[in-house]
Structures are given as C-alpha cells and as structure tokens.
Amino acid sequence: MTPVVALRDAVVVAGGFPLLAGVTLEIAPGTGTLLVGANGAGKTSLLRLLGGLERLAAGEGSVLGLDLRRADRRDLRRRVGWLGHDGSFYDDLSARENLRFAADALGRPRELVDAALERVGLAPRAATPTRRLSAGQRRRLALAWLVVRRAELWLLDEPYAALDEDGRALLDELLVDVVASGATVVASAHDPVRSSAITATVRLAGGRVVP
C-alpha cells in the first residue's frame, strides 16, 4: 500500500535554524501515529511540513502522493486538516460564524456546522465570540472545525492540551471514527495517549526520528 507520508532525510530550515535535521519516516494510510519528544524536538515542524505549511529545504518527501519538492503546496494544504496549538480562528467571530466560514470555503453543507458544535459539546456557546471561550472550549471548537472539514490527513498538534476528561474522551472517540473511515491521523503529545486509534509512536529528538 502506498504510504500517505514518506520522508527521507527531510530538512526544514527557518531563519537559519534547522527545525528538522533529517527526518526519515513512513506512515501507512488509515493509521494513527503519535509524535512524542521534548520541547523543541521538531514535532510541530514535522506536522507543519506534512501539512504543506513549511518548505522542504533538503531531502525528499511525499505526502498524499504529492512530491514536497515539486508539487504546489496549496494542493497539499487543501487535503489536510490542521489543528494547531494556538489560535486557529477569527477571535471576533462567534464559534458558529467561524465554522460557517470554513464550511462555505470548503463547499460543505452548513447543516454540518450545528451538528459538529453539538458533537463537541459547544452548542450552548455557539453564538459566543471565540475570544471569550476558554482554552478547552477553543480546543473543542478546533475539533468541530476538523469534523466539518473531513480531511484525508489529520494533523493534530498537542490536541489533548487544555482538554478536560470529557474532552479527552471525546477526542479519543473522534480519532477512532476518523481512522475507521480510512483517513490518517498524525498527532503530537507530551503525555501518553490511550486512544485505540493510535497504533504507532514516533520519537523525535534534535529534529530527527530517534529509536
């Protein structure tokens, strides 16, 4: 089976600093992979590279069949779902307005918006401006954004951060559904993850994969 992610000696440099120092990695479709490592190990940079948000400075790689050196990164971005560990929204718009904007942009039916808010437990706060949501609620909104999105490759940067026990259970359940539907999940985390969707763990240190 063609891997969703295939990297060989991938290097990413920003402002003269090598964020990734030669990552070699393969990820099969329909799987869940967890990236672990200390702060600054390169977890976020690797996720950003896989999402077409960083340029490959050296090495080779392909994601979802697109060559990272040659393909238009915009084509890749359109096919991934991104959950970053900061922001992600227009703070002055409400939770519902943010999701509607995303749904419209993606050509997804608007009915999905309220269903997604319901699923992540944000329906009562749907009209609240995003800036007034707590960190955990913002994280739930990010999950709702991904539910509306339905991407082929889910890239989740510290998805468990700021979530309470209920939120963690919700995320675990969501990841199981995603992987079962055939999509691929790559997530980063500091703490051990119990979701059955996660089938592989990749350890990063110094911008490289280590045993």
Binding site: V11, A205, G207
Partner: protein, 238 residues
C-alpha cells in the same frame, strides 16, 4: 574573452570617469548663461539615467524573472537586491547634484519640481524595498516579497511620473536630444557628456558585480552557519 572584459571593467570605468572629470572641469568652456554650474550636466543626467532607468530596470527585470517559475533562480534575486541598492546610491547622488544645481538656479535647495519629487518618491521606494528585505529572515519569503514589491514599484513609476508632472513642473526640459530629434549641445560638451554616460553606466555594472559577489559571499556564510547549526541540532538527538 569574458574574463578579460571582466578584468578590464574596473580600470576602464575609472579611466572613463577620470576622463569625464578632466574634460568637464578643464577642457570644456563654461556656459554662456549658467557659467561653471553648467558643468553638472556632465554628471547629473548620467547619474539619473543609471538611477532611474538602468538600475531600477535591472532590479525590475530580475524580480520578474525570479517570480516567473521557469526562470526562478537565486541569481535573479541576488541581481535584484544588488541593482536596487546601487539604484538607491545613484538616486541619492542624482538628488544631491540636482539640489546643488537648483540652489543657485531656483534659489532653494529643494523645489517642488516634477522630476525631483518623483525621483525622491522613487528613492523612498528603494529604501522601503531594502527595509522589507531586512524584515524577513526566511530567504524564500524575503526573495518573493522583495520581487513583488519591486514589481509594484515599477508599475508605480509611470503613475507617479504623470501625477507629479501634471501636478507641477519647473524642471528644465530635455537638453541633449529634444523631442524633434534636434541636438542642442555641441562639440566638446557633447563628447564629455557621452563619455560621462559611458563612465557611469560602466560604474553601475562594476558596482553591481561587486555587490553581487558580496551577496554570494553572504549566502555562503549563511549556508555554512546553517550547516553548523544542522550538525549541532543532530547532536541534540543523539
């Protein structure tokens, strides 16, 4: 052949500028009306030609070549930034010589003349281009944004030119070659001007080449720093 021409560039530039200075200061006669002040004509138009046409044009063409995917190369980006820097120097010299001529002629160091004003605005554009490049650390981002800004500047040139021209103009009209194709300057004065044009044009290419070499050295330095950082980063993972 090319190498020999490259070697000759510096000496020929210096020789032609020295010849311009000698002819302009000692050989040519003072102007009937403007006296010695008219000797600026051997320098000012040539500086303006390099500043506004040659270097700005080079920077614009290099920027277009950089943005066009088929011709994109680090060389085009280096040429663009080098030409823009040289352009800024020549713009400042154009403004300075124009001002020196303007003081006794118009009675003020600065006049709201069309060409003077549009040249000054173009100078700010060149400064802004360099400021934009300094504000971006990532080489690709720096090159792309710089190229877009250079193109925006180029398409602004005629808009600024006509807006300021229609706004007000005091500047002396075309001196050497009028719109009817008639030559207005004769003899040694014309030759001195032409040699001045050649000298400053060569000076542009000389400065461009040296500035380009500096850019190559800087890129190598950055690359070696990145290599060092890469090795260090890899050691973190051991």
């Amino acid at each position: 052949m090319t190498r020999m021409l490259q070697r000759l560039l510096g000496p020929v530039t210096l020789a032609s500028l020295a010849l311009t200075a000698w002819l302009g200061l000692w050989v040519t006669p003072p102007d009937r009306v403007q006296g010695d002040l008219a000797r600026l004509v051997y320098v000012h138009p040539a500086l303006a030609w390099v500043a506004l046409y040659l270097s700005f044009g080079t920077a614009t063409i290099a920027s277009v070549l950089y943005l066009w995917p088929r011709t994109r190369s680090v060389t085009a980006d280096r040429v663009a930034v080098s030409a823009m820097e040289v352009s800024l120097v020549f713009i400042l010299l154009t403004l300075a010589t124009g001002s020196i001529w303007g003081r006794p002629t118009w009675g003020v160091w600065w006049a709201w003349d069309a060409r003077l004003t549009s040249t000054a605005i173009l100078g700010v554009f060149a400064l802004a281009y360099l400021a934009l490049r300094r504000a971006n650390d990532d080489p690709t981002q720096r090159a792309r944004r710089g190229a877009v800004f250079a193109i925006l500047t180029a398409i602004n040139v005629p808009i600024i030119h006509f807006s300021v021209l229609w706004w007000k103009t005091l500047h002396q009209g075309a001196s050497v070659l009028t719109s009817t194709g008639q030559l207005n300057v004769h003899g040694s004065m014309l030759w001195t001007m032409l040699i001045g044009f050649v000298g400053f044009t060569l000076l542009f290419f000389w400065l461009l080449r040296e500035r380009y070499r500096l850019e190559v050295k800087r890129d190598r330095l950055v690359a070696s720093t990145v290599d060092e950082a890469l090795a260090q980063r890899r050691r973190e993972g051991v």
